[in-house]
């Protein structure tokens, strides 16, 4: 085949293509439907168990995730004095940051009427496990995540003793921490305000808390 013939063929083919596309293109577009979304896109990679373990530090209210180790109030007291007292006060009551220690007479729950009532671990926190989780992940602010598990157990024990929630010599570990009874627990209820998708519109303007 000569070069000229090839060129001619290409030319005819191009013209045919244009004519065909010009004729069928718009109709084809109109009929086209977008591809169905696949069940998976195959993007991302499997996470290795070790990668998960390195990040999976959260503690559940049932104690799930609590590490091995233990601590007592005596273990925690010197750590508190060195690392925590500067912000939370010598006995956990003085601030200047969050007041951590103190119960109210009869374990009253006056917070809706008294904005000044301190929301301490003993007066307001519904779960003791939260203290371990939060201290280990975020405290102290000048070196977050630097405390060893035994140090965190000791600090939690110290704070629970200061709040009169456990005996002075109690050992706090993965088994005992979820069992600590928190006075405020039963006050906490899920939000009951409506869900936008399931709530029928009401004719009259409504108020809600």
């Amino acid at each position: 085949m000569t070069r000229q013939r090839i060129h001619t063929l290409i030319g005819i083919g191009t013209i045919l293509g244009i004519v065909l596309a010009g004729d069928r293109g718009p109709r084809r577009l109109a009929a086209q439907t977008p591809p169905k979304q696949p069940s998976t896109f195959g993007i991302g990679r499997p996470a290795a168990p070790a990668e998960i373990a390195a990040l999976d530090i959260d503690i559940g209210p049932d104690g799930a995730g609590l590490p091995p180790g233990r601590g007592t109030s005596a273990d925690g007291a010197p750590i508190y004095a060195a690392r925590c007292a500067g912000c939370h006060g010598k006995t956990g009551k003085e601030g200047p940051n969050d007041v951590l220690v103190g119960r109210l007479p009869g374990d009253a729950f006056p917070f809706a009427r008294d904005a000044r009532a301190p929301k301490t671990i003993g007066s307001y926190w519904p779960y003791a496990t939260t203290a371990f989780d939060y201290i280990r992940r975020a405290m102290p602010p000048d070196a977050p995540g630097s405390l060893k598990d035994d140090e965190v157990y000791g600090l939690v024990a110290y704070l629970l003793v200061l709040n009169d929630l456990i005996p002075a010599d109690a050992v706090i570990d993965a088994a005992s921490l979820p069992k600590v009874k928190m006075p405020a627990r039963d006050h906490f209820v899920p939000d009951t305000r409506g869900q936008p998708k399931t709530r029928p519109p009401s004719p009259a303007p409504r108020r809600r808390p």
Partner: protein, 400 residues
Amino acid sequence: MKVSRRALLAGAAGAVALGKTAVTQAPPATSDPTKVRGKPSRALGQRAPAEKPQRQVRPGASSSGTPHQDLYGTITPSDLHFERHHAGVPEIDPKSYTLLIHGMVERPMMFTLADLKRFPAVSRVHFLECSGNFGGRAGSADITPQQVAGLTSTSEWTGVALATLFREVGVRPQAKWFLAEGQDAALLTRSIPVSKAYDDALIAYGQNGEAIRPEQGYPARLFLPGWEGNASVKWLRRIELSDRPFMTREETSKYTDPMADGSARMFSFLMDARSLITYPAYPVTLTRGWVEINGIAWSGSGKIQRVDVSTDGGATWAHARLQEPVLSKAHTRFRHLWNWAGGEAVIMSRAVDETGYMQPARTELIAMRGAGSVGYHLNPITGWLIRSDGTVVFRQEQWT
């Protein structure tokens, strides 16, 4: 003309400063811009020198508010979007960023930022509001809209629907909650119902057409439309699926609402409807005549249906005009023409959303919550007092 006293003063101060430094330079040949060639193109645009809107950094520097009194529309410029963080703004390398999704899933997976951007994307305009967004209790009348409610902003957010990622990892049917964890020094965590993921949650990496700002969670954040800002965890590094909530510090000792009945409400995600007049407001001084009262309204439940404006302290109300398009869970601009004849007046606004919910008065809020439950979710009707001399101050109310 909407020029705040603050802006005028700032402009004047800037002019003085310029004058001082310009001594050694050649003075401008003319003040007539038609008689001198203008500036050439530049790689990065900047505001006009006279415009100096600023976020207001609050004590402790863990938050800053949007200057609503300086804004006209509904989109908040990204550098004026409010901030709230619990251990500062982290610097995260986008190249090493990963998001882990694990727990009650068929396939625990890691996603890089590039991975997230390969998924089908969605863009939506939504407000984001801190549930602690009410500065009207402080006792001062000399406060701006920024101080009353600066912790709400609206952006166009772009990202991947969380539902898409949940399908990718195969979330198990028994999973009802997920933990979202940030990569900041607080490793901030919140428990979120899985149903929100299948409703409208995003993993957002875009804000107003460009990458999310560091203060808003760069390189990627959770975004939960209409819900309290704290739950839209920034700098998101991990999602763990579970059959129960995790009871983190932020959803127990914080971000819960003591109620008048002696309970404490938790997982109070929804931001109820609210409105705020942004003009006229402190520190503006009005002159007699026609005034276009305007402001923003928003609701976490959907679209704003109506905004009522009163110019007589709540005795009578008129329907304001809503600027189209009215978008779901987004700031909506309202406007109301008023001919101020002079004399003292109190102007107020109240929002009604598409579910029929009406923004409550302070007294109604206190009746339901108690006067001490003042930390979060305060969305009372607020107003501005216009004095006979035209000065405008925040209308104060007794809270405790």
